[in-house]
Amino acid sequence: MRENQVSDGGSAAANPKPPAGRSRMRRALGPENLMIGAVVVWFSVLVLFPLGAMVRGVFDSGFADSIRSLGSPVALHAFWLTLGITVVAVIINTFFGVIVALVLARQRFVGKLLFNGVLDLPFALSPVVAGFMFIVLFGPNGWLGRWFEAGGIRIIFALPGMVLATIFITLPFVTREVVPVLQEAGTEQEDAARTLGADGWQTFRRITVPSIRWGLGYGVCLTASRALGEFGAVLIVSGSVIGKTQTATSYIHQEFTDFHYAGAFAASLVLAVASFLMLMTMEVIRRRVTARME
């Protein structure tokens, strides 16, 4: 007993005698468990409680009302618009994101360090500032906007601007997820494929893509989640015209400012669940497929 009192958690564990009550308590309060506890509390306060509050909000403000507001033409239009913008942004950012990742992971060029730093700028920059940048550039009197305007193409306060802003905001995600995976995979498997007679495209499709697929999938999920939830930049470039350029997030904002909480809660829940499901599905598939391989 006396020994146990002076010993720390580690040597108590090595002691063949079953620990007495007091040292067990010591271990329960050991640094590992304290850390786990802290993480759980921290996570609960920041993530679980707000999510719970949102779910409760849906029921408190009337479930039927919530459902009804989700089915309203304005809400539906907002959701479809957001979905469309997200799909386009994901496709374009996946395509270019992979190319950028390949260049960053495999090539050496002058200014790579600078490029690498600038790549994160869209993510680091306030979305409102990003939106404002696009107004300056593509607005009816902007540097590029006036040419488009002259050609009858409207970018700001219209769909192209919203897509552009979303692409900008979500630019680094795919690249940032894929680069480390590419670096870890190395080029040996690709070299092997080429010696076996595969041309560049076959090598990319059959070797490179499978080896980066989980990083890519995760990057796509992050891109999609971020695109679904984008507010500031899109709000500025869209003008948020109800039933025209109003996205899901700005619909939530509008419902909220109109004191129509049922609609706001319901729409929020839909967005949150969509993001959550996407990330979970991805993780489940990854575990199932790689269970045998790794």
């Binding site: 070299d191 092997a192 080429r194 010696t195 007679g197 041309d199 391989m293």
Partner: protein, 371 residues
């Protein structure tokens, strides 16, 4: 398919700090006749792997040509060269089963499905991996992975098989077993084969011919017996097999090893005294019992039992010299450290002491010595 490597050089581009870059291959030339099994032997970092990758087309040489069956292939991309390549760390496709790995080269060539299945089965039998076709690389042992890699490289019937340190990452027993298998396999399929190794025993055991590489340069090309018994350079002599390096001075037909004098014959002696190194293998030193025969007197410092032989450290006028003696022949066990004995150098080579230079070479023949 025959291969000619002709005056190939390759400098790796410098990282920012070092401006010069690194000359990995320096004017390397050698030939591999059709159906031969050749080893590129050298220490790590000597450029042998780079030469192999240049032959495959995975690296582009700065100058020089690679010829296959007499045709220059320098402009031909990797996937059109028809080479099979086995990588040091296998480079198996992690996301594919053993079967899919082996089938890859056939699938990209658009072989009909039935043919692919037949060929894959053939190869699984060849490398004795029947029953493992559905395993992923992570579920195979090192030796099994290497066999899958070999089967995958052989599947499309390559004209040339290139192996980069094929057994480097395996433990000694598996390594010997696979080396024997490779030798047997080569007898069977007769594909022109080049393999890279830093292990001289492996090279001697497997290859018809050995190309010894050091610092990107070809030091010697020859059979195992040639490079072992008649090394062309100091490097070859000291890299292949064990060797005693003894500093000496040459004056006319006499070499001075410290105070000991060694008459040398057939040595193209320079007009004035010169610093040389005398290279002699431990097994080429013999203790002579005959009191009247000429020999070099030395003292035994240490005797070690090595299973199949005795190894002794001698003190030759203050220089440490190692010799080995067959258990059968040797009377070593009756000798003790401190005993004085007389030895004869049955075979040795002399090189000019200047670094890397090998202009002077003694004839290797039996010689008598007087003190």
């Amino acid at each position: 398919m025959s291969i000619v490597v002709s005056h190939v050089s390759k400098r790796f581009r410098a990282e920012r700090e070092k401006k010069e870059g690194f000359l990995a291959v320096d004017d390397a030339s050698f030939e591999v006749p059709r159906g031969h099994l050749l080893a590129l032997l050298g220490p790590s970092g000597s450029g042998k792997s780079t030469i192999l990758r240049i032959i495959a087309g995975l690296e582009i040489p700065d100058s020089g040509e690679v010829l296959m069956d007499g045709r220059v292939v320098s402009g031909r991309p990797v996937h059109q060269r028809g080479v099979g390549f086995v990588f040091q760390h296998y480079a198996l496709f992690k996301h594919a089963t053993a079967e899919k790995n082996i089938a890859f080269g056939l699938e990209v060539r658009k072989w009909p499905r039935g043919e692919i299945q037949k060929r894959v089965r053939e190869l699984l039998d060849l490398v004795q991996l029947r029953g493992y076709e559905d395993r992923y690389p992570s579920q195979l042992s090192g030796g099994q992975r290497q066999r899958v890699a070999l089967a995958r490289a052989l599947a499309p019937r390559p004209n040339v098989l290139l192996l980069d340190e094929p057994f480097g990452a395996l433990d000694a027993k598996v390594r010997r077993n696979l080396a024997a298998q490779l030798r047997a396999l080569h007898k069977e399929v007769h594909t022109t084969t080049i393999f890279v190794t830093h292990d001289q025993e492996e090279a001697i055991e497997i290859a018809d011919e050995i190309v010894v590489i050091n610092r990107g340069r070809v030091e010697q090309v020859g059979t195992a017996a040639e490079v072992y018994d008649r090394p062309a350079t100091k490097f070859v002599a000291s890299f292949i097999g064990n060797v005693n390096v003894i500093e000496a001075t040459v004056d006319g037909e006499t070499a001075y090893l410290g105070p000991k004098r060694l008459p040398i014959r057939g040595f193209d002696a320079p007009p004035h005294a010169r610093d040389v190194v005398l290279l002699v293998r431990p097994e080429d030193i013999e203790i002579i019992e005959d009191e009247t025969a000429p020999g070099l007197e030395c003292t035994i410092r240490e005797i070690r039992y090595r299973g199949d032989r005795y190894e002794q450290e001698l003190d030759l006028a203050g220089l440490p010299v190692r010799m080995t003696e067959d258990k059968m022949r040797g009377q070593t066990c009756e000798r003790r450290p401190g005993d004085r004995v007389r030895v004869r150098l049955n075979k040795y080579a002399l090189f000019e002491a200047e670094k890397g230079h090998a202009a002077l070479r003694a004839q290797l023949e039996t010689l008598g010595y007087i003190e």
